[in-house]
Each structure stands twice: as C-alpha cells, then as structure tokens.
Amino acid sequence: MTIAQTQSAPSVDFDGILADVHRIGRDVVQPASADVDSAARFPAESINALRELQLLSAYVPAELGGMGLDVVEIGRICEALGHYCASSAMIFAMHQIQVACIVHHGRGARYFDDYLRNLVDQQYLIASATTELGVGGDLRSSICAIEVDGDRFQLTKKAPVISYGQYADQILVTCRRARDAAATDQVAVLVQKPRLEALSSWDTLGFRGTCSLGFVLTADGSTEQVLPVPFDAVLSQTMHPYSHIVWSSLWLGIAADAVTRARAYVRGEARKNPNLPPMSSLRLAEVDVVLNGMRNNVNAAAADYRRLLLENDPAAFNSFLFATRINNLKLASSQLVVDIVGRAMLICGINGYRNDSKFTLARHLRDAYGAALMVNNDRIMAHNATMLLALKEA
C-alpha cells in the first residue's frame, strides 16, 4: 500500500496563484459574503471564480493535468479564502479533502486516473457523506452497505449532514464493503449525481453558506467507483490529517482577518492622538502573540504531514503519536479562533459588535463557534484520552 504523493509542476507560480485568490477574494467572494450568510445560500459566484482559476483541481498531480500543489499550499489558499468568506473557504477545503483522498488512494486505478483528468477539464465539485443516522457520529462505522451485483452497485445512505450536497457533481460516500461486512469494514465510493431527498434544513448560527443539510442519498454505478483501499487507511492517511490541516488553515484565515480589522481600528484611534498610543494597542500586541502561535501550529502540522507523504511510509500515519498530534491541532485551532475573534472584538468595541460597521466581527464570531462542533471537540478529546493511555513517552 503506497500513497501517491503529488508533485507540483515546475511551471507553477504559487505566489501568483495566491495573488489571484486574494484578487477574487476582494472582487467576488467578499462582496457576496453578506448575502451568502444572511440567506444561508450556496456561494455559487465564489466557487465559479475558483473554477475559473482551475483551483478545484489544484491538488491533482501535474502529470494528470492539475497544478500539483501540495497540502501546505492548499492550506494557504484555504487561509486566504477564510479572510473573505468562511463558508466559501470551508466548501473549498472540504472539496480538497475529497480530491486528496482520490489522489492518494485512487491513483493507478484506471477509473480514478480518468476521473482526475476529467476533474481538471470540468472543475467538478466533490462533497462528502461520512456520518450516518444511527451511528452516533462515528466515522469508523457504517450501517449502509453497497449492494454489488456483477460489476454494478446500489447504495442508500441516510446522512445527517452532506455539506453543499445539492451543488456537488460527485459525493464520496462511506459504507460497509458488502451486505455481510462488519460495521467497521468500510469502503469509500465516489458516486455520480446521486438522488438526494432532504431530511432537514440548514439554518445555523454560522457557516450558513455551506448548506449542510441532511439527506437520504440513493446512488448506483460501477464497482470501479469504489476506492481500492479500505476506508480506515483512507481516513488515517488522508481524510483525518488533511481535514484538520485545511480546516485549521481556514479558521486561521478568519482569525487573521479579525486581527486585521482590529489593527485598522487601533490605527484609526492612534491617528486621533499620535503622541499617546491608545490603550487598545496593548490588546493588539497581546492578540498578535496568540495569532502567531496559532499560525505556527498550523504551519508546523501541514509541513510535517507533507514530509510524511513524501517519505511514503503508511505505518507512520497509523501511529497514535501522529493521530493525537493532528487531533491536538484541531482542538487548539478551533478554540483559538474563538479566542482571537473575541479579543479582536474587545479591541474594536461597539464597532466590532455592530452589524453595520466596517469593523464588524459578528459573522467572524458566529463562524468561529462552528469550529469546535464540526467533529465535536469532546469526541476528539475522548479519542485522545484513550490513545494517550497507550503512549508511554510524552
């Protein structure tokens, strides 16, 4: 079992790509963000702008026509988008997680190689259906199973959440390997245009544009669409680390944008009385320490994961040391984003609290509170508590 690591194309100018992301961020993503939030609607214009930049295939290796960006670079794009619209950034991040699962675990299989080439041409958007009604949020067990008949399959899954499901071209769905397989004996299937029957609405505090409704999903297709490795390998080597890295990256973007607003506010205060630094400048210095710590943590985890991918040692991903470390990144960043936005709001005062001020941090704060809940921190903490019982060395 090997993981095919993406190699970036020598011609790729990452600084140029990042500048383009900031350009669409300012021109398209940010202007739409208030309406996306208030209407809880899919940010179609943001995703289309990312499509025009060919960024939905940014992680596809260069030999299949993609940009071959690595996880560190994908994380930086998520962070950049997080400055403008957290929902758009989250949709982009979730899509990249699915692309990474296919790139790492589907490469070499003809169906998935062809699929990745088509992804470059068509700029498909991929959603994910992992949790299931009845399993209590546990990704590592499924009730539903693929029903295989010859080289065809059928699948029905009751998913409490499929973010942007109605807007996706494909959905990567977990299920049991066969009708008689154990609950933990899972595979991931890339289903094409499934039938989706809504089970719930999506009217939440934050991340409103992700449209994360629940659905009954029904799909059929060819057995070639099943990823050729067991889902537990996909999860430990890719889905788990990649998710927490790209999510933390976009939460970093939310936090950094809040601090940018706080800086602008403090500068304004300082201009009124240039000889005496305002009280809030101390608070700004304080929050800058916290933001730096968060950024260093995200960067270090992304760089370590990239290194492990290049070393191509699947056993390294199965270690409790790696799993707890990635969980620690998620726990820390999801709490820090709330802390940092809260500190920025204290600096901006009533101008940060208002919805109608250029310093508003209302959406930042509402979005920030979602971070601890998507894969609930208590569940992650309980997993770490178990794994730490086994680890001897701190």
Binding site: A183, S319, A390
Partner: protein, 84 residues
Amino acid sequence: MTAQKVREIVSQHGRLSVPVAQLPDEGDLYGAGLTSLATVGLMLALEEEFDVEFPDNMLSRKTFGSIASLASAVEELSGRRASV
C-alpha cells in the same frame, strides 16, 4: 500457551465483530473488526496479564494484526524483562 491466554484477552477486550473462536491464530484481527481505539484496551489488558509494557514503537498494526503476532510480542517483551 501464551497464544491461548492472548486469545482469551482478545475475546474479552478486542470488541471484534466475529467470535474469536472462529479465528485462527494468524487470522487478521483488523479484518475481524478490531479498531485502532480498541487496541488500547487490548494492550492495557495484555500489559496487566503478562506484566509487560508495550513501548510506543510496538503500537503498530504489525503487532496487533493477529493473535500470533500479539503472542510473539508478549513473549519478546517478557524475555526482554527476564534478561534485564
């Protein structure tokens, strides 16, 4: 002997989806439903029973893959302790 005792502990703490009696000593425990988190309870019970400590580098799928690999790990660790 060790394998028989390991088998009992796997049966009590492995949370497998099939009866352990149906598995040969070389049978794949992960294939039988062993999860990474369940290996922790299994390891703690083995440490208690055999008075050994699994070092971090032995907490791998290789060690926990089968009753036979667990028995040989336990024997290796007991031998290590006896020779100290």
